[in-house]
């Protein structure tokens, strides 16, 4: 993981200068969540992209400049929304902690 920014996946091989990157890690109780989906919603709330997290809870989007909302879906969990700002040439790194698992299956 040489070159990794805290939270998100490694940026090795990524042309950071040309992209507006939004990335991060999803955790529950401080541990990475291996089964979760992260949705990227635009400034109007419309869906733009979705990725499953990696085995280590990480995700990445190549967004455009501006304001975005990340929505995390995970089993036995309420959806969690986080607003994030993206800009070309920068990496917005977001750590998202889920609430403890809800009781129902």
């Amino acid at each position: 993981m040489c070159g990794a920014v805290a939270g998100g996946p490694s940026l090795d091989g990524v042309n950071v200068a040309a992209e507006a990157i939004v990335q991060g890690v999803v955790t529950r109780g401080g541990e990475p969540v291996s089964t979760a989906y992260v949705r990227l919603l635009d400034r109007t709330g419309e869906f733009t992209a979705e990725v499953p997290v990696s085995a280590t809870g990480q995700f990445r989007f190549f967004a455009g400049p501006g304001s975005w909302t990340l929505r995390v879906l995970a089993p036995r969990s309420e959806a969690v929304d986080r607003v994030v700002e993206a800009a070309i040439g920068s990496v917005a790194d977001v750590a998202i902690e889920l609430e403890p698992a809800t009781a129902q299956a």
Binding site: E50, A55, G64
Partner: protein
Amino acid sequence: MSRESALVTADWVEEHLDDPNVVLIEVDEDTEAYVGGHIPGAIRLDWNKDLKDGVRHDFISKERLEELLSSKGVANDNTIVLYGGNNNWFAAYAYWFLVYHGHDDIRLLDGGRKKWELDARELTKDVPERPSTDYKAKDGDEAIRAYRDEVVDAIGAKNLIDVRSPDEYAGRLLAPAHLPQEQAQIPGHVPTAISVPWSKTANDDGTFRSDEELNEIYGEAGFDFGKETIAYCRIGERSSHTWFVLKEILGHSSVKNYDGSWTEYGSLRGVPVALGDEPGAA
């Protein structure tokens, strides 16, 4: 077609895990997702390696599809149930392609892999063995496939539906935002195409919205229910999802998927292109 004949629920799949006539097929953009775990008994199709020609920019031929499905142990009278990640984009793409080549009994798992995972249902790494078959495919049904010249001719004449995200439609993004944005084609959309992002037709868990909601979504977007329709996206997989909604769930008779989509159209010399959030003039 109808919702009942084209879609199955996760519960239905669980009840048919041991049904020898039901073939579960996983198709993902991330073609390694299957390796990490899949629905018990499911086989895998690779949308790129298995379904693409490999040299020409096209799908495999009818003969190669016959070889592929025969080797995978899929029979003509099997019920095929497709599912995958990305809210079934690539499963819908394979569904459309198998319908194009005339498979009779084919369904999508509503919600696909995501719904299955969010429900915390069983996944396995065991790869099933299916005895080979003698699968016979039909010639492509061109009534469900649109080509580039037809798309140009449809400007201002037919329903053109751009199902990409609003930012891709307007030209602010060139690809879905989980992919790098450096792309060869120019930004924008086909003039007069209305924007109905595929995502409006699905719930957060990937299941399809109700018929009433779907009709309302297309009605509000200015869809003319009396006209022929062509759907497109970037590479034809999200528009397969919308083709599925319009043709297989809502039962519209004349709906085509333009599988060349924006990667082809946005690379053509001299064709009309519109930029911004409005459809633009013919």
